[in-house]
Amino acid sequence: MKNSVLEIPADLNNLEVVRDFVREQVTDFALSEEALEDLILAVNEAATNVIVHGYRYKPGMIQIEIKGGLDDSLHVCIRDQAPLFDPTNIPPPDLSLPLEKRPFGGMGVHLIKTLTDEVKYCITSQGGNELTLVKKQRED
């Protein structure tokens, strides 16, 4: 598949554009509807984190690139210029804790990790964040 790139202002009102972009760009990729919904939810969580925690609602840009990996997996790269932060280092939430003791931070990252096959973080050559969500192609 050819690479596709979306670049939009970091704004919660643009999340629908992000979701539509993912849905439209992966049509030639062998994902089940359930796997596609999982991926869209994961990308939505990641983009939300950039807007809310990265840019803290201040103006900024988010770039989303969708590309096929060498092993036929699908890679969604989410790039931003917010302060550097590696969400893959966030420990998984302790699901055994009672609700009143559950820290609410990290739930989105836990969702992202659960809904995808792999999550990778790196610093871009421009010094920004790059989070890559990997979804494997359906085996059938």
Binding site: L12, L15, T48, I51, P93, L99, M107, G108, L111, L115
Partner: protein, 110 residues
């Protein structure tokens, strides 16, 4: 977000439409908070018209559940889709929220 409200057996029933996420959950949070402050502590959230929920939406529901239960009430969830049930399970919130297949069965559970 459009939210339809009704009352049955002194239970307030809320049926939001659309997405319970960072974009849509604020309206729901305000509606539930206002109902709570008006004395409604027994609530059912009918998710039959909700297409999507994320961690931000769940955070709001968790806060409402905690406050309701602290006041002797509850917040039951009715008619979630399989997709929404899965999000509850991944976050581990199916331990705290009682999920029902229909509003009627949730009403019976109070």
């Amino acid at each position: 977000m459009k939210i339809t409200e009704s009352t049955q057996d002194n239970i307030r029933i809320f049926r939001p439409q659309g997405r319970v996420d960072s974009e849509g959950a604020v309206d729901l949070e305000i509606t539930l908070q206002e109902a709570f402050e008006a004395g409604s502590h027994h609530m059912i959230l009918d998710l039959s018209q909700v297409t999507y929920i994320n961690s931000a939406g769940l955070r709001i529901l968790a806060a409402r559940l905690t406050q309701n239960q602290g006041s002797g009430g509850d917040l039951l969830v009715a008619s979630p889709s399989q997709k929404i049930r899965r999000v509850f399970q991944i976050i581990g919130f199916d331990r705290f929220f009682r999920l029902f297949d229909s509003v009627e069965s949730a009403v019976q559970a109070f």
